[in-house]
Amino acid sequence: MQIEITVNGTTESHDVEARTLLVYYLRDAVGLKGTNIGCDTTSCGACTVLLNGQSVKSCTVLAAQVAGDEVTTIEGMALEDGRMHPVQQAFQECHGLQCGYCTPGMVMAITSLLAENPEPTEEYIRLGLEGNLCRCTGYHNIVAAALAASGAPEMHQ
């Protein structure tokens, strides 16, 4: 079936099987490989993207379900002037990534968390990231990055 989704501001239209999950639509049909797959039980959050500005696990959404909606992936996060988004920037400054596999999902999840709560506590971030797994960083610097990003002026405009 033909599915039209706005991905990172561009309208995409692809003919896919009805059973196609959003993550495969993004990776295989659109060709954006930044969104990763880490499990098959909606547990790890590596595939987290923004759907109309809110984080979802793209392995748990059918592409057909979100026809006509707006999806943002890691490739669409940079600011208009080309600089990294404050959350991306905070990840580098705080050493919030190692192997990088969970990173796109983490960045999207944190962006969504900060949109809901611009002045979060550490506990809020930790509970909010329960569905995003990382094996490398011990989460310490991911949480630090989220808190640092929440203080960035761009996040409060």
């Binding site: 880490g38 909606t42 050493h95 190692q98 990088g100 509970l127 797994l133 094996r135 960083t137 011990g138």
Partner: protein
């Protein structure tokens, strides 16, 4: 000013943060076909038949292969030490020995067709008796390999000194389970292969050791190593489990050769939980003896190692446990003996620490039990027995030579950061008040071996006429940040900006040799090789500069601030790196140096971790409040990366102590084969950590550096474990096995209350 020791941000990050990494499954490989594996649903059975008639007829299915079709040799023994009869074949041959074992490979035009085809293969099994418990395996009542006549895959029979504990006033014993855990890198196993136009096998692998993959493919497929080209793109974590070559890798290569097509394979997470090697899996019997004044005189550990279904790397983990038998303590008499056995479970392998966390867990746990027995503070007992800083180099009773250390300093700093006395006072207050939430304080003093294998490492540095520097390394990072760290080392030697340095790794054509990244070896041997190559390039550049400046070779100096060479005293006339490289190129020589650095031997990082937990005595729930880590890995080149390594290690240690365990039922069915069932630790269960470094440079290598990749896990696991046991010790609980889940803690408290003082916590 030196760049080394500064907080340099990672050069790797912008790509990962803006478009994501390029992992094997991300590679565009047009026209490639997909491999999936039919896996055993039985833990132990004779294969009666594999019927793929339905599959062969499915549109889009290209081929189905069983082990007989492959005609490949079995895997060799591990370092010549393991039982030869227990080596795995590529695909199950006649008998399956664990759930998840590959039986047949299906090749299809798409991933979807391959997965649909899986459902259509009918395997008929004739069940055999299942052996899951390694204690039962050791009885040889049911054999996994009747031809071998035993389930024992490997043993280390040292010591057996009957008089070991004769002089001890106090002797305590403990039996503990160092449970099986899953390494769980976020990226699962993945490989892709095709034949190049000139007939070479091109292979992409998610591995920690690309040259090992190259050599294994060449050996099994009957090719020369130079007929195989392995490229390792970004790798989403390994933790030891991707240091091994797996049967699936070889089968993917074989399919590309056989079909002449581009072939790819990426397992699912549920497959990975059964196919990627598991870690730990030891049962330990430990005994310690000493005086009532807290002088430890003797220690013995007996290890029963679960190899899983075949004798792979996990089989020889006790070798590394034995090396670290007596830990950081000056114990006059210490012994380690071990037996490894096969069971009907996923084969075990290296997992962050690989044998050393198990050694530390054993001695640190029984140090606490001993302290309680003689009514001494556990920190004081440790202080009295740590090897003194003037005792190095120190040879332990099992003949391990520790390089250098200041163990007391790490202990003292950890106690100070923790506010140990105040914590004990708060604990006493809660105990006296009978609070529901009791406080537990756990210590772990550790020392571990890094760069423990004999391999050397390759490093090369080339300066190009455009002034760019190309660094090639035989190590293979998968999150460690070698691009940044090796750039720092080369920038320091050459006086060039790190932005002008490109670090190449993981391509066996560009990097001719390499042992890879495992065992906390990379900086001290791979970084040291790159560092040496940089030193050599500077020397070559001085030769060139002497010619160009018509000066004495001995008078040429490198101005590192400007990245140019001049005659001492006349900085105005100089030659830049680019000019020298251009001059060399004109003569037909690159400005280049390569080094095959032989291993100067292992180093021994050490430290003290302190964990503070709160245990709800009504529910058994443990809450980790604080974790203090003082680690000493010698000289720290990159504090950013070193700290990151410690953080990740701590989380994996906490995970083992509190949550994670691979569980099988008695029929060998895995109960933790998805991330929904396996208790992978999350941010919600962890605090931020309090980390400190002390720096005691090692004389073993030029950098003064020791490994830091595994220390966090080795130090943290027993600290958390001891903290949980400490929180409920006053209630009469002597020991609770890991993971200290609420049900186990609750059972232990209740068993103690009902008078069963030996309570270990229900399993």
């Amino acid at each position: 000013m030196s760049i080394l020791g500064n907080r340099v941000l990672r050069r790797e990050d912008p790509k990962f943060l803006t478009v994501g990494g390029t992992y094997v499954d991300d590679l565009a490989l047009p026209g490639s076909v997909h491999v999936t594996f039919v896996r055993s649903s039985m833990a132990h059975a004779r294969i009666v038949s594999v019927d793929s008639t339905n599959v062969q007829a499915m549109p889009g299915v290209i081929a189905v292969y069983t082990n007989d079709d492959l005609g490949l040799a079995k895997f060799p023994t591990v370092m010549g030490m393991t039982n030869e009869a227990m080596a795995p074949s590529m695909l199950a041959s006649g008998t399956v020995r664990y759930v998840g074992e590959p039986i047949a490979a299906i090749v299809a035009e798409s991933r979807e067709i391959a997965e649909d085809a899986l459902e259509q293969v009918v395997v008929e099994y004739d069940p055999l008796n299942v052996v899951i418990d390694p204690v039962r395996a050791r009885t040889d009542e049911d054999l996994l390999f009747p031809d071998a006549g035993t389930n024992t895959s490997f043993s280390l029979d040292f010591g057996g000194d009957e008089t070991l504990f004769d002089d001890c006033d106090v002797v305590v014993e403990l039996e503990l389970v160092n449970q099986r855990v899953a390494p769980c890198p976020l990226e699962v196993r993945s490989a892709a292969a095709h034949m190049s136009e000139d007939g070479r096998l091109e292979f992409n692998s998610s591995t920690q050791a690309p040259h090992g993959v190259r050599d294994a493919l060449a050996t099994f497929l009957g090719l020369e190593p130079d007929q195989v080209h392995v490229v390792t793109p970004d790798v989403g974590g390994g933790f030891g489990a991707k240091a091994a070559v797996y049967p699936e890798d070889i089968v993917v290569g074989w399919c590309a050769l056989k079909l002449g097509r581009s072939v790819r394979w990426t397992e699912t997470r549920s497959e990975s939980m059964l196919g990627l090697g598991h870690g730990r899996a030891q049962v330990q019997h430990v005994r310690i003896g000493g005086t009532r004044e807290g002088v430890v005189q003797a220690y013995r550990i007996e290890v029963l190692q679960d190899s899983g279904a075949y004798a792979g790397f996990g089989t020889v983990l006790p070798f590394m446990t034995r090396v670290m038998t007596s830990g950081p303590y000056k114990i006059p008499k210490a012994e380690c003996a071990s037996v490894s056995v096969v069971t009907n479970s996923t084969p075990t392998t290296a997992y962050r620490g690989a044998g050393r966390p198990e050694a530390t867990a054993a001695i640190e746990r029984i140090m606490d039990v001993f302290a309680r027995e003689i009514e001494m503070d556990p920190a004081e007992l440790r202080r009295r027995n740590l090897i003194g800083k003037d005792d190095f180099p120190y040879t332990t009773p099992v003949e391990t030579l520790y390089d250098v250390g200041d163990y007391h300093r790490a202990l003292d700093l950890a106690l100070e950061v923790a506010g140990y006395d105040e914590l004990r006072a708060e604990q006493a207050r809660r105990r006296a008040a009978g609070d529901v939430r009791q406080l537990g304080i756990g210590l772990s003093c550790y020392v571990e071996i890094t760069n423990g294998l004999p391999d050397g490492e390759f490093g090369a540095v080339e300066v190009r006429p455009d002034g760019k520097v190309i660094v090639r390394t035989g190590t293979s990072p998968h999150g460690q940040g070698h691009v940044t760290a090796w750039s720092m080392l080369v920038a320091e030697q050459l006086g060039v900006a790190i932005e002008d340095i490109e670090v190449v790794h993981g391509d066996t054509d560009i990097v001719p040799r390499g042992a890879g990244t495992m065992g906390s070896r990379s900086l001290q041997i791979g970084g040291a090789a790159v560092n040496q190559a940089a030193v050599d390039v500077v020397e070559k550049a001085k030769d060139l500069a002497a010619g160009l400046l018509e000066a004495d070779r001995e008078d040429i100096v490198l101005n590192k601030a400007k990245g140019n060479f001049h005659v001492v005293g006349t900085p105005a006339v100089s030659r830049s790196w680019a000019e020298l490289a251009a001059a060399a190129a004109k003569d037909g020589n690159p400005l280049f140096a390569e080094v095959d650095l032989a291993s100067p031997g292992p180093t021994f990082p050490f430290g003290t971790h302190i964990s503070v937990v709160e245990v709800d005595t009504e529910t058994g729930k443990v809450n980790l409040l604080r974790h203090i880590a003082v680690d000493d890995a010698g000289r720290i080149i990159s504090p950013l990366l070193a700290e990151g390594q410690v953080h990740g290690g701590i989380a994996q240690g906490v995970a083992q102590a509190l949550l994670e365990e691979v569980v099988y039922d008695l029929e060998g069915n895995p109960l933790t084969s998805t991330l929904a069932d396996y208790s992978f630790i999350s941010a919600a269960e962890l605090p931020s950590y309090e980390t400190r470094f002390t720096e005691t440079p090692t004389p073993v290598n030029a950098l003064g550096a020791k490994g830091i990749g595994e220390s966090g896990t080795i130090g943290s696991t027993p600290a958390v474990h001891n903290a949980v046991c400490d929180a409920v010790a006053h209630l009469g609980v002597r020991h609770i096995d890991m993971p200290t889940t609420p049900i186990r803690v609750w059972n232990a408290i209740n068993d103690a209350a009902t008078g069963d003082g030996s309570a270990k916590g229900g399993r």
